[in-house]
């Protein structure tokens, strides 16, 4: 990027104003759109629909606001901490209490607090991130997990202090697979 920070901020503000005029959107939406393109520029987001960050030179942004900014990052991302986890039959399994990530920041497992009654006797288990379905997170406020209780119970308890926590991946125990076709 050329130039100091202040002029480029002015340019972006101008782009925001232009976007507001052209798209006849409220100013807030336009600035959100710009914020999301900024995120796309600085961090490569693999999940984003448009991998090409078009407006790299700021001159292009000035002339035409990027339509690719429409999927706002905030609407594609949702908070996962404290969300309910439901099983294949829609049964309530527990709550997401933590997310374990690898060195590159990619989520590896979710720590889920299972079972209990009024907070007594619940048990934490780390579940492989790939086993969780987040498609209902935004609307249903739930995370889906294709395992039933018996499979989770067979897994060792997650202990925060331990260096390498055991993570439940596909079938954790042979007897559990028989129960769940």
């Amino acid at each position: 990027m050329s130039g100091s920070a202040a002029p480029s901020r002015q340019r972006r503000a101008l782009a925001g104003a232009l976007a507001a005029l052209i798209l006849a959107l409220p100013g807030v939406a336009a600035s959100h759109a710009i914020a999301s393109t900024l995120v796309a520029q600085t961090t490569p987001a693999p999940s984003a629909g448009q991998p090409e960050a078009k407006p790299k030179p700021p001159e292009q942004t000035e002339s035409k606001p990027p339509p690719s900014a429409e999927p706002v990052v905030a609407s594609n991302a949702a908070s996962v901490l404290g969300k309910k986890v439901v099983g294949p039959k829609g049964e309530n399994l527990g709550l997401v209490v933590d997310v374990l990530v690898d060195q590159s920041g990619q989520p590896q497992a979710a720590v889920i607090d299972f079972g209990g009654f009024l907070g007594v006797g619940s048990r934490k288990t780390a579940i492989d991130w790939k086993l969780l379905d987040f498609s209902q997170l935004e609307h249903g406020e739930t995370v889906e997990l294709g395992l039933d209780r018996s499979q989770i119970e067979a897994a060792p308890e997650y202990k925060p202090g331990k260096p390498s926590p055991a993570v439940v991946t596909t079938p954790p125990a042979p007897d559990a697979t028989q129960k769940n076709p």
Partner: protein, 414 residues
């Protein structure tokens, strides 16, 4: 005997039987609803805060804050309740603090407000418990206190049982947040129960005598019976409080789809036992003395620990929890009763209760940590056996060192 406590108690209970009956019903309701309220403030808070996006560390901080607040305020709260002659007033403010605390949690579950709610609840728990015990003592007098406390325990356990069922259903079918609105709503009947108790006045504080009527605080700390009693209930709690969470954890691991129901059973079964036996236990404290009841109650703990360690069947765990009910009834009645034997007429009754409460709090705090650590390192059976051994120590201290505190006038035939 020219004892002001007894004469006022007679004036309170005997001269106006209608009022005494009303006071009795008031205490019944108060114990029922307060126990109901307290269910919401238990471990469920951590479930609720989790659903609000709180991290486990932040929840730990908030709950520790509540524990520390409760422990730090036991003794000052006791002294405060001693100094206020209308215990009903103390109870009203404590219950109002509970509703404020529940509403803060329900409406604004963000750090500052949750901390405030925890502090409020921690402190007011320390004023409410002693205030209820003191009102019971004032209403019936020391001679009948054992029976009254038996009744208190019965209603409190019914309240606990109903509370657990109600709050559990509310959290499951409505929402976690609704539990705290429900908790706040239950404070209203609790306050209504105080109406017939509003006239009770602490006889220890005649207007002219002032603070000189009280025994010096140092006399409590050097009272052998009080210190030994505090020590053995602390030991009992150290062995007892981690028992249920540990059993629940194992049920969740092994009991499959019914785990939550069985854990609910583990919570409710002891309450049923308390409700069934506590009047008998109260009577037993008057007929046979306090020490015998203390030893019986404590004995159930090592037995329970060994049974938990050896019998793995989930259904049996629920039945074994019935033993917890026996212990809970004995300890629940004896704490306010022994404190009354020792300090009921010294003007330091509530301070003594605070001291015992502090000992119980310390025991409970260490218990969970200790049992968790042993279970991690050596497995759950080792943890059960260790807790059982601590319980055995409590039995030995109670049997060998605890003096009988029952006043001479209460012996049968007098």
């Amino acid at each position: 005997v020219n004892d002001p406590a007894i004469s006022v108690a007679r004036a309170n209970s005997e001269s106006k039987p209608a009022e005494a009956a009303a006071a009795s019903r008031g205490l019944d309701g108060l114990n029922l609803f307060v126990a109901n309220i307290q269910t919401g403030f238990g471990p469920f808070i951590s479930v609720y805060l989790t659903t609000q996006g709180w991290t486990q560390t932040a929840i730990g901080t908030a709950l520790s804050l509540g524990t520390i607040a409760a422990m730090a305020s036991q003794i000052p709260a006791g002294a405060l309740v001693d100094a206020i002659s209308s215990k009903a007033k103390v109870a009203v403010f404590s219950i109002l603090a509970f509703s404020a605390s529940a509403l803060l949690l329900a409406i604004q579950p963000t750090a500052l407000w949750v901390y405030m709610a925890e502090l409020l609840h921690g402190f007011s728990s320390c004023t409410l418990g002693p205030a209820i015990a003191a009102m019971s003592l004032i209403a019936v007098g020391p001679a009948m206190l054992g029976l009254r406390l038996g009744r208190n325990a019965r209603f409190a356990s019914i309240g606990n049982g109903i509370g657990a069922a109600l709050m559990g259903a509310c959290g499951y079918y409505v929402s976690e947040r609704a539990v705290f609105f429900l908790t706040a709503a239950v404070t209203l009947p609790a306050i209504a129960s105080l109406v017939p108790l509003a006239r009770l006045r602490d006889p220890i504080r005649p207007p002219k005598s002032g603070p000189s009527a009280r025994a010096p605080i140092s006399s409590l700390l050097t009272n052998r019976a009080l210190v030994i009693f505090a020590l053995c209930v602390a030991l009992f709690t150290l062995g007892n409080s981690a028992m249920l969470p540990l059993a629940g954890n194992i049920l969740t691991k092994e009991a499959g789809d019914f785990a939550s129901l069985l854990i609910a059973g583990c919570i409710i079964v002891p309450q049923l036992v308390v409700a069934a036996i506590s009047p008998t236990i109260g009577e037993l404290t008057q007929r046979r003395g306090r020490r015998l009841v203390l030893v019986i109650g404590f004995c159930t703990l090592p037995i329970r620990g060994i049974l938990f360690a050896t019998l793995g069947n989930p259904g049996t765990l629920v039945l074994i929890q019935g033993l917890d009910g026996i212990a809970a009834a004995c300890v629940g009645i004896l704490v306010p009763l022994v404190a009354s034997d020792i300090a009921g007429r010294s003007g330091r009754y509530n301070l003594s209760l605070g001291l015992i409460g502090l000992a119980i709090g310390v025991g409970a705090t260490i218990s969970t940590t200790l049992a968790g650590w042993i279970a991690d390192a050596f497995g759950a059976p080792a943890a059960y056996v260790s807790l059982a051994l601590v319980g055995l120590l409590a039995v030995l201290v109670a049997a060998l060192a605890m003096p009988e505190t029952r006043p001479l006038s209460e012996k049968p035939g007098s």
